[in-house]
Symmetry: C2
Subunit: 408 residues, 2 copies
């Protein structure tokens, strides 16, 4: 053991086990109702179509689907993706070289961290933000500046103030990018408004930073009108748009995409060459053929119906069982997988997590896990996509009991 210990790079010391993954291990027990992971309901996977496609792809396209592929991604998949994105985001005229296929969205975050972040660079993040993004960026040693979220997404005044401060202190040139999840935020469930999006683009130009727009949940809207992506609104300027098939098809395929200007995509391709040569060709070809069936929009509609009902059940249960106090509130997401709950300031959701799991048999993710600055102790993330509706009701009952016990 010692012989390895003395050999680790400094970077390796920055690596921490994902708190979520560690916590989720505690929730394997079947008795526990888990609002923990952002794990899709397997009943949303289009297995009948996928099994036939997999069979055909291996039989007829093995010379491509089982062989090495290009680092950029399977050409057929990228072509079909471009049509899909045109429909989904109304983004037209994308060239195949503006699209890179990644091994899940996590790899996209990792590659972006690699090519942009030098030690001490400043990254603007939302508070709270997606934990996986922090773990991807962390190994490069950035400094985070956390901008709080409001009902319409990022607090745009706070963002502007921070940027002005950075300008005054001469640190603006160290700001590399803003990382944002504008639609149905993970973990907060909020959606960035149209005006906020336009402001973000304006600030990016004025203060010279890039925008990493992470959109895993955009297609899972349950009510209201679609708001155009930042990428669309800004004509792709300074922006990389990240998408994934994990929540709308299957996370086991590990298929993500980065869309951006050809030159920056080319740079990310170089990073990916060293990282894994290419994303599995077989999963790409399966997804490519799946996109051709046109079943995906139908399947997404069914997924939306399912999750939307579960969300309603959760919101109704919260309304019914949670203590009626001003200090307790939760977001009312219009889509996605997550709802964010705020408890009185004196409560620490990490402190009673063990009790929640082991005594009350209900799991959530303590909110502080999602803050780059360690705040958010009185918050928690609740995911409503995996448990059944009756489990959601029972789970919220249990959670309410626990919270009541700790209320002053």
């Amino acid at each position: 053991m010692d012989e390895f210990d003395s050999k680790y790079a400094l970077r390796a010391k920055r690596m921490k086990a994902s708190l979520i993954r560690e916590l989720l291990k505690m929730t394997q027990n079947r008795e526990i109702i888990s609002f923990g992971g952002g794990v899709p309901d397997p009943e949303t996977f289009p297995i009948n179509t996928l099994k036939r496609i997999a069979y055909d792809v291996i039989e007829k396209e093995y010379a491509t689907a089982l062989q090495y592929g290009t680092t950029e991604g399977d050409r057929l998949f990228r072509e079909n993706l471009i049509r899909f994105i045109a429909e989904k985001d109304d983004i037209r005229g994308l060239d195949v070289d503006s699209v890179l296929v990644t091994t899940g969205s996590q790899q996209a975050l990792d590659l972006i961290g690699r090519i942009f972040i030098d030690e001490g660079d400043i990254i603007l993040v939302e508070g709270p933000t997606y934990l996986g993004a922090l773990s991807a960026f962390n190994i490069n040693g950035p400094r985070y500046i956390t901008i709080p979220l409001k009902d319409n997404g990022i607090d745009i005044d706070c963002l502007e103030n921070k940027l002005k401060e950075l300008e005054e202190s001469g640190e603006l040139k160290r700001v590399k990018f803003l990382y944002t999840i504008p639609n149905f935020h993970n973990p907060a469930g909020v959606t960035m408004g149209l005006e906020e999006r336009k402001k973000v683009i304006e600030f990016a130009r004025r203060y010279d930073f890039l925008i990493i727009e992470d959109d895993p949940y955009g297609l899972l809207r349950y009510e209201g009108e679609r708001i155009p992506s930042i990428f669309k609104l800004g004509d792709g300027e300074r922006t990389l748009l990240l998408n994934t098939f994990s929540k709308i098809l299957s996370p086991g395929l590990r298929l993500g995409t980065i869309i951006g200007e050809k030159e920056v995509i080319r740079k990310i391709v170089l990073a990916k060459q060293g990282a894994d040569l290419c994303t599995p060709t077989i999963t790409q070809r399966i997804a490519a053929r799946y996109l051709e069936t046109n079943e995906i929009m139908e399947n997404i509609r069914a997924t939306r119906d399912k999750y939307s009902k579960k969300l309603k059940t959760m919101l109704n249960s919260l309304e019914e069982y949670m203590p009626k106090e001003d200090s307790i509130s939760w977001t009312h997401p219009k889509g996605g997988l997550f709802l964010w709950m705020r408890l009185p300031d004196y409560l620490d959701t990490m402190q009673f997590f063990d009790e929640a799991v082991n005594e009350y048999k209900v799991a959530y993710i303590p909110g502080s896990a999602f803050y780059a600055d360690g705040s958010g102790k009185n918050t928690m993330r609740l995911s409503f996509c995996l448990p059944s509706e009756s489990e959601i009701i029972e789970g919220i009952k249990r959670l309410s009991k626990l919270i009541k016990k700790y209320m002053r």
Copy 2:
């Protein structure tokens, strides 16, 4: 474009396009006979079995095979791998926590670079060595010390001398690991002898460095007796053993493995969490079920027969068509995919590469691509696995003509 240019990390400037990938783009033309890529013959893929397994896995195991998996890898796959490795390498008693599944071997190299290499650390590599390893390690800014290869693999005296020099100069503590491909070396085709392996283990202990043993081709032995792995000989001490299914099943599945002590595997798991969360579960489950059919050894035997014939054809053609000069020689590999040719010192295989491809319609990889120190200008790598036997004969004829033209 400018807005991205000013934002790149220093690390991004170290990234270069893989020369091989760039060269291979020139050889897409069907008229060209390519000895370039180390790309398996698709006729070796067991498509009939794989298509049925893929169908069944999606139908019956979708809740696992299409869902997120653990970062360590699918448990069933790792259990089946342990049995496979016991048979293949006579390594017994491995625990499931000693095995990590990676998205191809390239990811294993990348993760190893991340957790071990700080800027300026010393990495011992063979000359020539695998280009993909250099591109994975490069972004962390190591210094390479190149140890030449002989007929029995690494030049053990040279290795010892270098280590002594490093000890004297006080730099030994900066040496992190030796990266070696002991079996049927890529690109050199040579195999490290038993005595050399034992010496490497002895030196690793005495001079305190780790051994990264990359073994993609070990099962593709066409003649002679199997030599135990360094991992086996040294009881796993200080060693990480890398394997891949790319050459014995399908590269499109992108399945590699790292085997080592639990503590170091745990550390690599943390790095992988940030890199891609997990390797696709579907490809892992397909491979897991494939291992259960016991067809793999049969399929490997058929692959060996096919490649062994192609190797003989290439060796015979070289014998017949190449100029008979002491200054021209090539390795006689006992397995693997590659043969290494040495030409007179005054020749530069990079210089006539364009002419080879465009005029003579034959492709190879210029040897200098495989040297960390840029030497090897008069060498080339020839892969014999993809072209047919008649193409091999014709290709070697063409190559001989070209070389004769440049001989003094």
